[in-house]
Amino acid sequence: MLRFAIGRLLQAIPVLLIVISVTFLLVHSAPGGPFSADKAVPPEVIKALEAQYNLDQPLWQQYLSYLGDVIQGDFGPSFKYSGRTVNELIAAGLPITAELGLYALLIALIIGITAGVMAAIRPNTLQDYIPMSGAMLGICMPSFLLGPLLVLVFGIYLDWLPVSGWGDIPGDKILPSITLGAAYAAYIARLSRGGMLEVLSQDYIRTARAKGLSEPLIIVKHALRGGLIPVVAFLGPAFAGLLGGSFVVETIFQIPGLGRFYVQAAFNRDYTMILGMTVFFATLIILFNLLSDMLAIWLNPKLRQQSRGDS
């Protein structure tokens, strides 16, 4: 397992290098610059600012010095939030976004797996069609539509829950978490239905029935483990997606998380911020994919032993 993990981390190095290089090129080839929006500023001030942030140097030199900083874990100063570094900004937003992502993932898992398993137990009946139609709807409905709808119903008409904020009023975390998790719940429901259907048709489930085990026991003990492997494999990309994709939800609900910095940085041509966030998210995606792959290996006794023999 250790060898597998190290191997994958080594593979991550060229991937990250490519991510950094491509993003760097794209960011710098976009028209405008971090200071071009401020019209009233005299040219000599802009020159001074550019000199301060080394933007007057040739591009390859900027690239190399940026790369050197990133290797040391330093994403540099933000161009727009003067006086603050990208590292500080990420550190400030990350806990909120991570919390939101975690809640959303939990909601997605609980709703998704329950719906998927229920559907798989009685395929092609109402118990299958209703949750699966719901899942289809959940996948199709974008969060910028679902969020305001939920706010309208639960925040305004029913007046049960706060309409925005994060951690200010009790219950204000519920609607954003649901909005963010809904699409993933739908996806997980479809994955777990497929996985469970496959497992439930296996010979060893028939063996378990022939032994006189009860149906709930068969589902929980004999079927879930194999049936949820597709879900486990999806967890890594899902969590990374939840973190990166939270900006819509954060904007709707006025949450001071990472996602909003990301979008603003793009509009502001805040070069270091865009780059820093991209590299940070890429690293997260790689890490979470690795984690979910390792979990999937650990769940399968055969693979577990192979990987043990390997290391």
Binding site: D203, R209, A210, G212, R225
Partner: protein, 549 residues
Amino acid sequence: MALLEVNRLKVYFQTRNGLVKAVDDVSFSVDAGETLAIVGESGSGKSVTCYSLLDLLPKPPAVIEGGTALFDGEDLLTCSTPRMRQLRGNDIAVIFQDPMTSLNPFISIGEQLIEPLIYHPDKTRIQGRKQARLRAIELLDEVGIIDPVARFDCYPHEFSGGMRQRVMIAMALINEPRLLICDEPTTALDVTIQAQILELIKKLQQTRDVAVIFISHDLGVVAGIADKVLVMCDGTIREAGDTESIFYNSQNDYTKKLLAAIPEGAKVLTNRSEPDKPLVEVRDLKTYFSDYSKAAASGGKKYIKAVDGVSLDIRRGEILGLVGESGSGKSTLGRSILQLAPTSFGTVTFDGTLLDDLNPKQTVPWRRRMQMIFQDPYASLNPRMTVYQTLSEPLLYHGLADSKSIDQQVRQLMDDVGLAYGQMRKYPHEFSGGQRQRIAIGRAIATKPELIIADEPVSALDVTIQAQILDLILDLVERHNLTMLFISHDLSVVRYISDRVMVMNKGVIIESGDTETLWANPQQEYTQRLLKAIPLADPRLERRRIASL
């Protein structure tokens, strides 16, 4: 009164193509201590009959249309779900066909073994884990698992097929059932392992006085184990009676056809081989695979030596039989000769040319001259290609036909392998197993090869179909002047078809010779054991054979 009395059982399946009468008006009875064999080919309804007794059929599509199944006076077909749970595993247990897929790969065998005890539906009979573990270890020992204490926590993939089937048997016996249903319990196993498992079932039955329903398509196995035989076909009973009267005095045409289809005795065709002209020369061939298992890691071994130094000649015009049990390396050897598996050492010479030296592009013209027929006609045909596409592809690829002549050539091929030309636009799933193997054979002979390597070409087929395919192969070999390496674990089939035989074990050829010479006088102890383990489809001879072991 009999322990189980099935009366006019009818099980139908509702399919898109209408109602299928899987079991139609079947009646039989089994007494305690008695073995009833249900014999039939695939689709005859023999398994469905038994699964319906335990409510193990998926409903829908299955519907029990009528009949009764009285177990100790209680109707199994109408009893409640909780009552059925009490009967399952407790009074009636099942040993399934395929030990590879019938055990849960995610749960240790010990845990699976004790489940019937620790989750017993009858609350008063639930046992604690410790007690259940002791009982399970005792049973594992009884069914012949070595070192059961250590093996208790192992997972199914750490056991061989034969050992897994022993675990299945232990699992079936753990609650001391009164009726044991064995659904082809040895079909997936090697012949020597089969002999051990059959002996085990027989011994356990005698010591415990259980009734056994033994489902099988293998008449040799049935001859040795059954007291009574039920012959089924298309969901109905064709004949029923005690074993000797069925085998020696059958009144039914279908039973007679089954008995006649068993490959028996020597090859009828003359040996056309030219001893001095080898088409293929294999010298010291070795094919190793990387080994990831725990045992290999701790033992410091890195390779599985699938083929470990094999030298052989395949003479022009002969059918060379290659016999071995699973894991002996016979399939890998076949693939290595065709350069389909990477060889580690040694050389393969085909018609004077060293194949190992050729790069992939250079092998193309040689591929035309040597073809392979694979074991599983369900998996080896592309399900998205019609018969026409499958058969025309090699012809067009090797430039053996142009757009004008291709229709004519495909027509000829289909005719050769006994398929109607009208079926050429159909896809593989629309054909039966035997027809699919005909398509696969047609694909192999399409390029007019000189050498065909047939890897277990009939082992997935029913006995009557098997006989047809074997005759087709013999006919094609003669007509097209083919040379063939025929790989099989089924010794009777190999004897029926081969001029010469090689016996393979653990990656090496341990014995070879002319088929009849080898059969009459095997030199190696392993070969003797292998030949002795073949069940004979004759109750008196079979019982004498078993007794002599």
